[in-house]
Subunit: 412 residues, 2 copies
């Protein structure tokens, strides 16, 4: 039996090849309210100043600050939403509600708490300074100002800003649609009882969930069966509607492994083996310009490979510029056995203490089938291939897949 | 004009009152694949061991480890997905693919890379140890084992675990449905041109987005108009289909403020003023058991109030036990003016240097209408009411609303 035709490459090289193979998706026009979590593909400017008129920031009375009258005639009532035909002159005041225009003539607002109404008159019981409690025209946004720059990741305040300036359609990079399929004759659907030799398909569902967590849109392409043409049919169906494809299973060295030969024949394979555990046989190909990530079938291998190679790719396709997880130096709290020769990703829980130290505990038996080793983990420890066995107290690098746990003594 | 009837309470007390007023939503049964991001409301056990049979973890040959024959007869071919009627005896081997059952009699697998096929025979070119490359029954999950405990937040690996054990329906706390409405006669929809005195409604859209970011389900209840009964009609419509209600605007002290009197008359007000800026008039009430958060109308005030009071409430309703953002001690890189008397939340960008220090820069003018001051912010600085003006170099507390920016340069 020949060796695999694919050279074994380091992880860093594989990640570079992934990021070279994918590009931000072409921008689309979307309703602003559907753009949360997406990346803006245009500069957005204000078409008016905000506020567009001098607006009262309190409920109270519009007055002239230099006016010395203690008691002033109330000559009008300006509510929000329109402009009343009323003017403030010396000796007068106008009742104004929060958010309403301050009438011409006035240069200050006095909060209602500091006034006393007396019939058609109001007593001002505080000192008044010019400009007080008035939001100037353009105070929040100047006319024509750049509000959101191309490349901005749109969060809740940004959706509010788009509403405020009336930008109801925006050019954004869409969320990548990711077709997910499984291979493996032993796999049955989760709802099925197991016959001898069968297990249930976990990867399709964990990978579709991981796509969602990376803010992609999963497309369930089902399970590739052993019928002739099923792999081809499934991949072609996926190419028609997805921006990326994920397969799991069928990428090792066995006689029934279908995926790699198919990808080699119909597309271009960028890499087919990585010096990593789990995830050695992970494969990246492009078919008709669509990246296809062929992941190993072991549940941990598939999800770890997703984290290392697919997630950065999906974020780049979504137009993100920060596509990598933060990394931290963490101290091992126990011995971690490791076999040199391939870089190992061990699942761990990282804790941040009041003193600022990060410590790591692994999640027990690290078998590639033991999906439970990923439950509750917030980090992947990176154990480099050059070294064996890491004793307690060693500092290693951790890829933070979630926020560090904080100890009880973290300041409140 | 009388003072507000509501006592001014500290922020911490307001947060406590919020968390007392809301409870985890009653569990519902959901398809496992819809449970991503939700909290499990039952213990989930495995009903079978995983793997359920001795499974080959490589492609190769099943053999007897103590067998000394260099060349063995290949007596069968065991693919994945069924159990063949074949047995390994001394002098024989069976071809087995990854994931397939290891036939009876065999106690080790030899990778195909270490073998050579010769007609109906195979040469074993490596030492063989018992148990090698065989995944034992129950190695990943024991029969009856607790797989996921009540209270687990379900991530991608957990959805895979549920698929693996065939748990297709799970009891979870549902995502809270949150009705969002705006008040204010000056407000028009984002698609509308502005007439004099009008502005566009930003809060309904930023708050619905914030609900989504907190993994709630927003329900757009529209804008309360100035017609009699509109507030009542909108709130009653919301009570019929939402687990919590958010209003913005209409909570200060003016003559047209409708919300607080309505809530006082029809429900119970838990607090109506907080010693905070922005967000002083924020109000919590319960109506027919449903929490109603009445937020100020200024766009920044509404979103900051959401962050401080509503987000922890929604997370608690979703069954989460960790409902608070992490807090960090950060060093100000510039003078930060602050008026004593109320705790101020200033929007800032916090950077974490490789040396481990956290530093903060505020996002410019901190006006309550300047939504742009929230764009790109990853933290709210907490400037306590007891102290005025914070000079550069002061350490203050920051509520981390996003991950710290990372830099490998030491701060100045």
């Amino acid at each position: 039996m020949p060796e695999s035709p694919y050279p074994m490459i380091p992880i860093e090289e594989a990640i570079d090849l992934v990021l070279q193979a994918v590009q931000p998706l072409p921008p689309v026009r979307a309703p602003f309210n559907d753009a949360l979590g997406l990346v803006l593909a245009e500069d957005v400017h204000a078409a008016e100043p905000m506020p567009p008129f001098r607006a009262a920031s309190v409920d109270g009375y519009a007055v002239i600050a230099s006016d010395t009258a203690a008691i002033r005639q109330v000559v009008g009532d300006q509510s929000a939403g329109y402009v009343d035909d009323v003017q403030v002159t010396p000796g007068t005041a106008v009742r104004v509600t929060t958010g309403a225009p301050v009438p011409p003539g006035a240069d200050a607002m006095v909060m209602v708490e500091f006034t006393e109404k007396q019939g058609g008159y109001v007593e001002i019981k505080t000192n008044v300074t010019p400009g007080r409690s008035i939001r100037a025209v353009g105070q929040d946004l100047a006319d024509g100002q750049l509000v959101l720059a191309q490349g901005s990741l749109l969060g809740a305040p940004d959706i509010g800003l788009l509403a405020m300036i009336g930008k109801t359609q925006v050019l954004v990079h869409p969320a990548p649609r990711v077709g997910v399929m499984s291979t493996g004759d032993e796999l049955v659907e989760p709802g099925n009882p197991l016959k001898p030799g069968q297990i249930r398909d976990a990867n399709r569902f964990s990978l579709m969930s991981a796509v969602r967590e990376a803010e992609g849109v999963p497309i369930d392409l089902g399970k590739v069966t052993d019928e002739t043409g099923s792999l081809q049919e499934t991949i072609e169906r996926g190419l028609g509607k997805a921006d990326a494809l994920l397969t799991s299973g069928g990428v090792s060295m066995g006689q029934l492994d279908l995926v790699k030969p198919y990808l080699a024949e119909h597309g271009k394979i960028h890499f087919g083996r990585v010096r990593a555990k789990p995830g050695k046989p992970v494969t990246l190909a492009t078919l008709k310009g669509v990246p296809v990530f062929a992941m190993p079938g072991f549940p941990v291998s598939a999800l770890v490979s997703f984290e290392i190679y697919v997630r950065p790719a999906l974020l780049k396709m979504a137009g993100r510029t920060h596509v990598h997880r933060p990394r931290r130096r963490v101290t091992l709290t126990h011995d971690v056995p490791h076999i040199a020769g391939r870089t190992e990703f061990q699942r761990a829980i990282v804790t941040h203490s009041t003193g600022g130290r990060y410590t790591a505990v692994t999640t027990g038996f690290q078998g590639s089938g033991r999906l439970l080793s990923m439950h509750g983990a917030n980090a992947l420890l990176v154990l480099p291939y050059q070294q064996a066995d890491f004793p307690a107290g060693t500092e290693v690098e951790a890829i933070m897949t979630g926020p560090a746990q904080e100890t009880d003594r973290e300041p409140q």
